[in-house]
């Protein structure tokens, strides 16, 4: 009985957040002279309106899920990996180049490309971890700054040495991958590709790993109380390198499937301008680093984005307003964090719990 009331009460706040978010969005819609109900209906349709739009949303969610999971793993271990963007871009570049230059049959190219992407992302991330372990450089700062190095390095690579010089050649991008190395689509004529299945698989694996393995326990313990963890005999440096490697590897995987499944080449800016990495981090924060929660939050965020596109297509409300609505919704949903913080502070006097 207690549990039911607790669940119900805890549902009130996020629902309220969504309602307030939609209300603020409605003000923006009214300002530009749109119809509120029609706009929101279009937004809904754009995200989930038909099987086609649902798959669209899931396609957009795929890289966000993978990045979110990677970040969640690092968060769980108590490390702030803010470098998903760079890790994803390097992973994507490595995957693209591997798929282009690797000889052999299509399946081999695909697998090699995916592994190359994961390793590249992983090494880039572990490098930041190594800097922390070896030189005590703040991980938050190194991961963040390594993003710039990675994205500009990748931009250089596709603007000069590996630039596609065929056609109009106005874009900084690699040549297109051979058709045999494209990740198969799940449904004819839809954008959803095998990468989504990978994302689902990784979600489940991660959930089981965190919950039922010794390493998973070590990681959780490390994040929960580092002092207790080291007292228990866990080596911080080693665990950090490992978890950062996997975290970056997942970001690299996100970049790889995006290249192999959607764009079929590495295009400068194509992974950074949609803000996949930041959406992934947001999903992790919304879900409190829970693997399955992260995946669902990623789908929610992707739905806000595809819904925004649908709204833009079918109403006169400009795309910018949809960005406002997205931002406001996310802001109010994440207000949950602040809300619980205040509650905790009140409760803190009673039982003295810190966090």
């Amino acid at each position: 009985m207690d549990k039911v009331t607790a669940t119900l009460r805890s549902l009130v706040q996020p629902l309220l957040a969504v309602i307030v978010g939609l209300a603020v969005g409605a003000i923006a819609i009214v300002i530009v002279g749109g119809s509120i109900t029609e706009t929101y209906a279009e937004m809904w349709r754009g995200a989930f309106g038909s099987f086609y739009f649902l798959t669209n949303t899931l396609t957009r969610a795929t890289p966000i899920i993978l990045i979110g999971l990677g970040v969640a793993l690092a968060f769980r271990a108590g490390f702030f990996n803010m470098g998903s963007e760079g890790q994803m871009v390097l992973g994507a570049l490595s995957a693209a180049l591997t798929a282009i230059y690797m000889p052999g049959p299509g399946w081999l190219k695909m697998i090699a490309a995916i592994f190359a992407g994961m390793i590249a992302g992983g090494i880039w991330s572990a490098f930041a971890g190594w800097l922390d372990a070896k030189f005590r450089m703040n991980l938050l700062i190194t991961t963040l700054l390594l993003n710039y190095i990675a994205t500009y390095f990748a931009a250089y690579m596709v603007t000069y040495p590996f630039k596609d010089k065929t056609g109009s050649a106005a874009m900084s991008q690699t040549v297109m991958l051979g058709r045999e190395a494209w990740l198969p689509k799940l449904f004819q004529g839809m954008t959803l590709h095998v990468g989504f299945l990978l994302a689902v698989g990784v979600t489940i694996l991660m959930f089981l790993f965190m919950k039922h393995t010794v390493k998973g326990y070590e990681i959780r313990m490390m994040g929960g109380n580092p002092l207790f963890a080291s007292y228990g005999g866990i080596q911080r440096g080693k665990l950090m390198l490992a978890s950062m490697f996997v975290s970056g590897g997942l970001a690299g995987l996100a970049g790889s499937v995006e290249v192999l499944g959607t764009q079929y080449r590495f295009i400068d800016g194509a992974l950074t301008s949609p803000g996949y990495a930041w959406s992934g981090i947001m999903a992790t924060l919304l879900a409190g680093s829970h693997p399955i929660g992260t995946a669902l939050a990623a789908i929610l965020i992707a739905a806000l984005q595809t819904g925004g596109m649908g709204m833009e297509r079918n109403t006169d409300v400009p795309l910018e307003v949809s960005s406002i609505i997205q931002a406001v919704l996310i802001l109010f949903v994440s207000a949950k964090l602040t809300y619980s913080f205040i509650k905790r502070k009140k409760a803190g006097a009673k039982n003295g719990r810190a966090l």
């Binding site: 607790a6 706040q13 996020p14 989930f48 086609y52 669209n56 080449r265 194509a270 301008s273 795309l319």
Partner: protein
């Protein structure tokens, strides 16, 4: 923490469950509708045309103009038109796919940024009609419309060559790509035609939306002695204009008549009739004489041009240019039209 997690999960689950229900319903609705729609179009119901842009229109005159011509044609020919902007390449592809799924009769898109997506989607939908502006996509169900910008750039270069006092002119160009060599090479040829001794400075912004860098490069070129700087950098041109105003040199813009912004300093504008092309495409489709394949528009077809030379402007002519120069370049324009002067297309080399 755990409690909050539970509630978040419940919320998201609830949403996805509703989503799943909604999707099945709507799906059925769509299936029922689409054949009927197709039938109606044949009977002469309002045709629907979508213009899907790979970027946001923002302050980019190239897209703004295209959108204007597109909407005007929609009104005049009784066609339902819809402009869709995109924020990123993945979003653009989804938008393009969706317009196919939403059964638009004609889908127009533009620029090299759209090539990839169109190359994927057009072959998958061989019975759909597509058009692409400003680049060529060689597919049986795509009409490509391109411009001979090098002809207009030639005129611009010729005017600059006759007008410069310091014998140095510059161009601030968006990116170093073969596509934009149509502008720089055309300009160079025109400059050499009227003033073989003039020095021509070229700098690249590295993007289409960076006005701050455009301004810096214009200041740099001015410091090297350029008294006329052609903006060829889309949004970056705004920076060039600002620099021209601050430092008192002369500049030119692109696509639309930019002289209206500041006739004292922006003395010319290289025109590109994206509005006319969008308009003509819709018109041809509405009248049933739409053809696939490639078409190009140059000075002769009035697809490209230069203010004062091929098209009058509301702004007064700057004394920097002078009527005499305009008359001379007008003669050159006639020679291009008649084929007496052949401007080399650097892409065809």
């Amino acid at each position: 923490m755990k409690k909050h997690l539970v509630l978040l999960l419940t919320l998201v689950l609830a949403i996805s469950v509703i989503a799943a229900c909604g999707s099945t319903n709507n799906n059925k609705g769509n299936e029922g509708k689409s054949p009927a729609n197709g039938g109606d179009t044949d009977k002469g119901k309002k045709q629907r045309i979508a213009l899907v842009l790979p970027e946001q229109i923002g302050v980019n005159p190239f897209f703004a103009l295209m959108d204007e011509g597109f909407k005007r044609a929609g009104e005049e020919f009784g066609v339902e038109v819809k402009t869709i902007e995109s924020t990123d390449p993945a979003g653009f592809e989804q938008n393009l796919r969706t317009t196919v799924a939403e059964n638009y009769d004609l889908i127009i898109t533009a620029t090299f940024q759209a090539e990839d997506a169109l190359n994927k989607i057009a072959p998958e939908n061989p019975d759909k009609s597509f058009a692409i502006i400003d680049t060529v996509v060689d597919l049986p169900n795509v009409r490509s419309v391109v411009f001979r910008e090098h002809e207009a750039a030639f005129l611009l270069g010729a005017t600059a060559g006759l007008s410069t006092k310091t014998n140095t002119v510059g161009a601030v160009v968006a990116i170093d790509a073969p596509l934009l060599s149509k502008y720089t090479e055309g300009f160079k040829q025109g400059l050499a035609y009227t003033n073989p001794d003039a020095k021509f400075l070229v700098n690249y912004v590295g993007g289409f939306d960076d006005s701050a860098k455009g301004k810096e490069l214009a200041i740099l070129q001015h410091s090297k002695g350029a008294d006329f700087i052609a903006g060829m950098a889309a949004v970056g041109d705004l920076g060039v204009f600002e620099a021209a105003k601050d430092l008192g040199f002369y500049a030119s813009g692109q696509d639309v008549d930019r002289t209206e912004l500041d006739p004292e300093h922006i003395v010319l504008s290289q025109l590109k009739g994206t509005d006319a092309v969008a308009y003509e495409t819709v018109k041809a489709f509405a009248n049933g004489n739409f053809e696939f394949g490639a078409a190009d528009y140059g000075v002769k077809e009035d697809g490209v041009g230069v203010t004062f030379i091929t098209k009058d402007s509301k702004s007064p002519l700057s004394p920097f240019i002078g009527q005499e120069t305009v008359d001379k370049v007008k003669a050159i324009a006639e020679d291009i039209k008649s084929g007496k002067i052949e401007v080399v297309n650097p892409l065809a080399k």
